[in-house]
């Protein structure tokens, strides 16, 4: 039998060819696709997230691992159910209104998806109303807000306010991130958490889903 930990190791080192070969081999040998996904791939991305958080892996390496993950998931897809693919929960993510920065938001989106979440990415310049609507429609477990400007930080508060007004606040966890914000700001505006990088965001999301 293929040892799924070999898949994990190859994924962490971003070796796409090897991961695909091992995934195919494991399938051929009758390993359940969901096991390959959870024990092989998602476990690997969890380690990638930890290494990113601790500064042992850098963004380009994380991107390589994530790209490898995507290719491997494509191989597994025909054998996976919808539940298998979004077992961790549903996250709505976006950059708040007035702010067009997307790089950090995209990294977080990629990492939480690799961690097994279903992701609805609303893009940039997202109004509080659009967040509310997406949380409602998708029955999201978590909403992730990004802001890169000091001038758009207050929009995070307004977005949270809109979620409160619409009666959704106790149904969804709110996490925030971006260069100008920190834990103190997250506490002040009533968010459930703050993450300083995409690896931490992924771990935080998992923690919140308990």
């Amino acid at each position: 039998m293929t040892d799924l930990s070999d898949i994990t190791t190859a994924l962490i080192s971003g070796d796409g060819d090897k991961v695909c070969r091992l995934v195919q081999k494991a399938l051929d040998q009758g390993a359940p696709a969901a096991d390959i996904l959870n024990t092989g791939l998602i476990a690997g991305m969890d380690i990638v997230g930890e290494k990113m958080q601790s500064g042992d892996m850098f963004i380009p390496e994380v991107l390589m691992s994530a790209k490898t993950m995507n290719t491997a998931v494509e191989i597994l897809k025909p054998f996976l159910s919808a539940e298998d693919m979004s077992s961790a929960g549903h996250i709505v993510i976006g950059t708040v209104k007035g702010d067009l920065h997307d790089i950090g938001k995209n990294l977080v989106s990629m990492m939480v998806e690799s961690a097994g979440f279903k992701v609805t990415d609303l893009g940039v310049d997202v109004s509080p109303e659009a967040f509310v609507k997406a949380v409602q429609e998708n029955k999201a477990d978590i909403v992730a807000l990004s802001a890169l400007l000091t001038t758009t930080m207050p929009m995070m508060q307004q977005t949270i306010h809109a979620l409160v007004e619409s009666g959704l606040r106790d149904k969804v966890k709110i996490i925030i991130g971006g260069a100008p914000v920190n834990q103190e700001f997250a506490d002040r505006i009533g968010a459930d958490g703050y993450a300083s990088d995409a690896g931490s965001a992924s771990r935080l999301a998992k923690q919140l889903q308990g």
Partner: protein, 264 residues
């Protein structure tokens, strides 16, 4: 190289604390230090003080100009804060920055139209961040034409093509640098400027990438930069690269910097 000293920014803890306690001495020293290390403009930013940015920005301009005779780069998107800061500013200030984002553009244009203010024009539009050289040039075209129509002379415009991290896309370095080259060729007399440390975001030992990037950009025509002038390695890279690019007559700036002890 027109150097805009970036240190007086309220998102830095020491600056926020100085503003909070109206500690003039700290701000004056930061202004003086930057002036002694070749700064041409002193950037002032009070963006984190959302409710009283106008008062803080005005105070910063006054405090800086009590210490040095340099002009300020007024770093805010808020036209009211900028107008108030300009009222107390001596000399010709730089506005940092206008962009093609509609609200920002419409709000700031009346403040700068027909003046002799210098203005940083950031290549960003409501359509999001530019990715390719073409994206950047399209935005720059609209910005430069719009500003010129409003009687801002081309030599007062500093286009910032927007630096994005190399860590997420290997083409972001060349994309920026090729835009600098295209802009310099297309608009005679225009300036370019940028805050370039974003290039190394997400990578270790960032200073090496920052310096190498600066050297490459200078060769393609970059002539303005928002940097920390006290970063001796960066100043050394700039002065050396400009001499090598044939922009330093008789290597005078290089020699002067050497004698002033500014080189690494």
């Amino acid at each position: 190289m027109i150097i805009i000293g970036e240190l007086i920014n309220a998102s830095r803890k020491a600056v926020a604390a100085a503003i909070q306690s109206e500690d003039k001495e700290t701000i004056r020293k930061m202004a003086l230090d930057q002036a002694d290390h070749l700064a041409d403009y002193i950037d002032v930013n009070a963006g984190i003080f959302v409710d009283r940015e106008t008062a803080c920005l005005t105070w910063l301009v006054q405090t800086v100009q009590e210490a040095v005779s340099l002009p300020c780069a007024i770093d805010s998107p808020d036209p009211k804060a900028i107008e108030a800061a300009l009222k107390v500013h001596k000399g010709v200030a730089m506005i940092n920055s206008i962009s093609l984002e509609k609200e920002r553009y419409d709000n700031l244009l009346p403040v700068i139209a027909g003046t002799d203010l210098k203005v940083v024009a950031l290549c960003m539009s409501d359509e999001g961040m530019p990715v390719t050289v073409d994206d950047r040039l399209k935005i720059a075209d609209k910005l430069v034409n719009g500003l010129q129509k409003n009687n801002i002379p081309i030599e007062n415009i500093f286009v910032d093509p927007l630096v994005q991290p190399l860590s997420v896309d290997k083409t972001y370095g060349t994309g920026f640098i090729n835009t600098i080259e295209a802009l310099t060729q297309k608009f005679k007399g225009i300036h370019t400027a940028c805050g370039l440390s974003n290039i190394s975001y997400g990578l270790p030992s960032r200073k090496h990438l920052n310096r190498a990037f600066m050297i490459q950009a200078i060769l393609k025509g970059l002539d303005g930069a928002i940097i920390n002038p006290l970063d001796k390695g960066m100043i050394t890279a700039i002065i050396s690269a400009e001499a090598l690019a044939g922009k330093d007559d008789y290597c005078m700036r290089y020699l002067k910097a050497f004698r002033a002890g500014l080189l690494e």
